[in-house]
């Protein structure tokens, strides 16, 4: 019996010694501020800052590689708190939001077929591109709404996602989720926005969707140098002074919009107003 007791006691002693040695010589110095900063960060791990989660950003802030302004989830006061704790500038990062490049809700865009399968955009996209007549358009089954962790995306009554810019943290989940690649991240100061991805032109577009870009090129003519027509779509050169509101005025369909600070997306004066509230009738099958 005493052999067992002695063996255990000896083992205890050996392992205790190992632990003491490990504690002394393999000690890792960690900055206690990292934990403190991490506690102040929102803990959503959305990845919008570009670091691997909130812990990654906390290390970067303490290490001086990033400023608290990188975090798009915190509000102004919370950022100041982190900045005050670290004794650094909060760092003004411009707010970036997700924007959808499609305006074809059920009231304006036509369906060719009715889809009846797994209720998700990714599922519908597999079945020959989904039922929408426009091959590039929003399928309206709300994968982006489901994937958004911040409730920033809601589907409106026409089955089109609407981004709440105040809630959006530009984490990029919707960009990943959309099978038609309709979302992209843009600074809020990019006011001009092309709300269509249809690569066709002329009547072919209008047959499918009343608010699609039919590649008339008026916006490019009104804002030379800023807007260029590439593959039947206007492309805004955001590197230049692009805030030319007049570019949207003559757009016949309202496919190019102006994101007003207060009133939200505005179409031009020449744009056709769609007043229909119900679904557009399917013409072929």
């Amino acid at each position: 019996m005493y052999i067992a007791v002695l063996t255990l006691a000896a083992l205890c002693f050996v392992f205790a010694t190992l632990l003491v040695v490990a504690h002394r010589f393999l000690h890792v110095e960690e900055d206690p501020r990292i934990e403190a900063v991490q506690d102040m960060l929102p803990g959503t791990n959305c990845g919008a800052c570009g670091f691997p989660g909130c812990a990654g950003l906390a290390i970067a802030i303490v290490g001086g590689e990033a400023l608290p302004g990188k975090c798009t989830v915190m509000n102004e006061d919370e950022r100041e708190e982190v900045a005050g704790f670290m004794g650094v500038d909060a760092g003004a990062e411009e707010k970036v939001v997700a924007r959808l490049a499609c305006a074809g809700g059920a009231n304006t865009a036509r369906n060719r077929a009715s889809y009846a399968g797994v209720p998700s955009c990714r599922g519908a996209e597999l079945i020959a591109g989904g039922g929408k007549a426009c091959f590039w358009g929003c399928l309206g089954l709300g994968d982006c709404e489901t994937v958004c962790d911040f409730d920033a995306i809601t589907m409106d009554r026409h089955g089109l996602p609407v981004v709440n810019e105040d809630h959006c943290t530009a984490c990029g989940d919707c960009v990943e989720a959309c099978p038609k690649d309709l979302f992209s991240l843009h600074p809020v100061s990019n006011r001009l926005w092309v709300n269509c991805k249809n690569l066709a032109k002329g009547q072919a577009v209008l047959d499918d969707c009343e608010v699609g870009c039919d590649a008339c090129g008026r916006c490019a003519a009104d804002a030379p140098g800023v807007i260029a027509m590439v593959e039947n779509l206007p492309v805004v050169d955001y590197g230049r002074n692009h805030n030319v509101r007049t570019a949207i005025d003559r757009c016949p369909t309202g496919a190019i919009v102006w994101f007003d600070e207060k009133q939200g997306p505005q179409t031009g004066r020449g744009a056709r107003r769609v007043v229909r509230q119900g679904e557009r009738r399917a013409v072929n099958t």
Binding site: R112, A113, Y115, A116, V118, S120, L126, F135, L199
Partner: protein, 448 residues
């Protein structure tokens, strides 16, 4: 002598109603030319072909209009004599907009087919035959549209011992392979000569299901004396036509997970593909039309047609008398064929049929069946020919556990035969989940 008693088959699988009787007795007929033919440049798996014509150019039927761009690519040929109207985007059955050649056939033309450089089976080397097959634009006509020339040469360090000519045609409703076997018997044996030379296999096996006894008898009686060809008949079962299943059924060898038929010394070629090789290569022609079955309760003039590539589904249905309440159209058969979202999608080399259903079969205008939760009955497990666990995979797919599906449950081996969805009493669209998950897994692996 045919041996019907031999039970060459595989375990699991299902028995959906065949519905082949409507068209199996109808001879192949030539289909009229549509006013505009849309020839996509990407009808095969792999790189799209490079167009060698310009807008406004006049072409002769059978002329090469696009050349293979690299090894994983095949040529395209003009389906009719006419004018190239434009080269632009066109809808494709895979849900993408792809580059396509819009061809307007000349109404007054005799539609004579242009011959190219012939490839003689006696004098040509295996490499020359591979090039000729690629130049003729031949892809797997069974539905996958995999470029045929890619899989024929035995891979490094492996020898092939059996060439399978797959005439199983297990998909319900379709009868194209059946008619081809009856009407193009000589072409098939010619094709086998080319294939035996390329693959360097000592023997060929023509696999046929027992529901086509006339084709089996005709082929068995017509085997030339100098060809080592055997005709094997196996009992009817779905999905016996799949490469993996036909090899397991007739050779008793199982293709390893993630492997190819070459891993078990076999190479598999669809019977219609073989017939096209035998028909086109001696005259140096290319595929500009294919045999398809247009059938189902949604059309009144069912039949087997030799249809120009690029005919739209709309034109095909109009010519075959689509009924008033047509509700769902499949490209291919109802088990594996994708449902069509746009009637302006053109028929490509991979389209083996058009199956149209009315509202009565699909359950109302929306065709939606209520999906119930999985009750764990394991009917899908009994049905899966690959011994996967569709029930577990379905649950994982719902919770987006794609990594686990691929790593632990062999999702990537699934070839989407649809047996699990067919037997599921809860109407869970399992195959659609798997297709979504496979796409996500491929995306994640590409990103990693």
């Amino acid at each position: 002598m045919l041996d019907f008693a031999k039970r060459d088959s595989f375990p699991h699988g299902i028995h959906p109603p065949e519905n082949k009787d409507d068209t199996s007795g109808l001879p192949i007929r030539q289909f009229p030319f549509a006013p505009v033919l849309i020839v996509p440049l990407s009808q095969h798996l792999g790189k799209p072909a490079k167009p060698v014509v310009r807008e406004g150019q006049e072409v002769v039927r059978g002329q090469t209009i696009a050349e293979a761009d690299g090894f994983m690519s095949v040529a395209m040929h003009a389906p009719a004599s006419g004018t190239i109207r434009r080269i632009g985007l066109a809808p494709h059955i895979n849900g993408q907009m792809v580059e396509a050649v819009y061809l307007e056939p000349l109404p007054a033309s005799t539609q004579e087919i242009a011959d190219g450089e012939p490839c003689d089976v006696e004098s040509a080397t295996p490499d020359e035959i591979v090039t000729a097959i690629q130049r003729a634009g031949i892809v797997g006509l069974g539905g996958a549209a995999f470029p045929t020339h890619v899989k024929l040469r035995p891979p490094e360090g492996k020898t092939l011992d059996t060439l399978f000519i797959n005439g199983v045609e297990c998909e319900p409703y379709l009868t194209t392979d059946h008619r081809v076997m009856l009407e193009q018997t000589e072409d098939i044996f010619m094709g086998i000569r080319y294939l035996l030379k390329v693959t360097q296999t000592p023997r060929a096996v023509i696999a046929i299901e027992a529901n086509k006894p006339d084709a089996a008898e005709k082929l068995a009686a017509a085997v030339p004396e100098d060809l080592p060809v055997e005709v094997r008949v196996s009992p009817v079962k779905y999905p016996q036509g799949a490469e993996k299943m036909v090899i397991k059924a007739l050779l008793g060898r199982e293709i390893p997970s993630g492997g190819l038929p070459a891993d078990v010394g076999a190479v598999c070629c669809n019977v219609a593909t073989t017939a096209e090789i035998g028909r086109l290569l001696p005259r140096g022609r290319g595929i500009q039309e294919r045999v398809i079955t247009i059938t189902g309760p949604g059309v009144s003039k069912k039949g087997n047609y030799r249809i120009p590539i690029g005919t739209t589904v709309r034109f095909a249905l109009e010519q075959c008398g689509a009924v008033e309440d047509i509700s769902r159209v499949f490209m291919g058969g109802p088990m594996m064929g994708p449902s069509v979202s746009n009637l302006d999608i053109p028929i490509t080399k991979g389209t083996s049929g058009i199956t149209a259903f009315t509202a009565a079969e699909t359950g109302g205008s929306t065709g939606h069946r209520k999906v119930y939760p999985c009750i764990g009955c394991a009917r899908c497990v009994e049905a899966c020919p690959l011994y996967l666990n569709p029930s577990q995979l379905g649950i994982l797919a719902k919770f987006e556990q794609y990594e686990q599906m691929a790593d632990d449950f062999h999702l990537m081996d699934c070839f989407e035969c649809g047996s699990c969805s067919y037997v599921c009493p809860s109407h869970i669209p399992l195959v659609q989940y798997f297709r979504m998950s496979k796409k996500m897994v491929r995306k994640m692996r590409a990103a990693a």
